[in-house]
Amino acid sequence: MNLVEAIEKDLIIVPVKGTDKNSVLEELVTCLCKVKNFDKAEVMEAILDREKLGSTAIGNGVAIPHCKMENVKGVNLVIGVSPNTIDYDDSEVRLFFLVVANNDEATSHVQLLSSIARFCSSSVLRNMLAASKTAKEVMLTINN
């Protein structure tokens, strides 16, 4: 599974309204759980447990909060674009890729994380994504 295959218009938040790390994570998780009908408290707990192991901010204005857990189906992606930089464990982040996968989807999970990392290695694509004003613009940048 790659970024193009994982992206869904209803799972793109532009602009992100949260103003700090926790409120952005909650916004992304809320979006996912509303669309996919997952248990919000469980997903939030799994994401925060992973954050305790180490920051998921990877530099260049990007964070990839992720977790694997029991009670979700498949591999799920929420993309958030913030108009302002968010302080995320002492990193400044504008692009968020939340990945939540079922425990049994390791291969697809790793494939998606790799695809996101490849995409974010391009400063041109990062800048285009950060300049997006709508979910449609995000889709166009990623599908291009």
């Binding site: 790659n2 192991l53 530099g59 390791a106 697809s108 494939q111 990392a117 291009n144």
Partner: protein, 160 residues
């Protein structure tokens, strides 16, 4: 006999199962040896670790999960081959799929490579990094691509 040793490359997709089914039927029909190769993508895990997306404990954890996925698929293919009384040599290796497939072909005198279907082009960027695409383009032996088709399932069920 045109092909003496067939290799089918499988990953974690349903298309790979279909490619394996087709290969099993092909090997049976042609009385040919069939090898099955699954590459556990440890390179991607290492890259994610180097990019600080995975922490130490995750690297170990995900590598174990990927190996578990590989075992699951290979066991399934072995059961399918047994049903058709076709002997298969199954191999699970770690690394980068295009590199490992080409190495296997060379080391084992494979003369036909069977691949799962290559996905429709939705993004040129993703196509450039697709393992299947790279295997297809770099193979030194003829390649047969199995298109996902219900007929394969019907044929597999009826051919007893």
């Amino acid at each position: 006999m045109l092909f003496k040793k067939i290799l089918v490359y499988v990953d974690n997709s349903e298309s790979a199962v279909e490619a394996a089914m087709y290969s099993i039927l092909l090997a049976k029909e042609n009385k040919t040896k069939l090898d099955v190769l699954y590459v556990v993508d440890t390179k991607s895990v290492s890259d994610l670790y180097k990019a600080h997306i995975f922490v130490d404990i995750e690297k170990v954890d995900y590598e174990r999960d990927l190996e578990h996925d590989a075992d699951k698929y290979i066991r399934h293919i072995k059961r399918m081959a047994l049903k058709k009384q076709v002997e298969v040599n199954t191999h699970i290796v770690n690394g980068n799929a295009p590199v490992e497939v080409n190495k296997y072909i060379k080391d084992n005198a494979i003369d036909l490579l069977v691949l799962p279907k290559v996905s429709n082009i939705r993004s040129r960027r993703e196509e450039l990094t697709s393992d299947l695409d790279r295997i297809l383009r770099t193979s030194k032996v003829p390649v047969l691509i199995v298109r996902a088709d219900e007929e394969i399932w019907d044929k597999f069920d009826e051919d007893r």
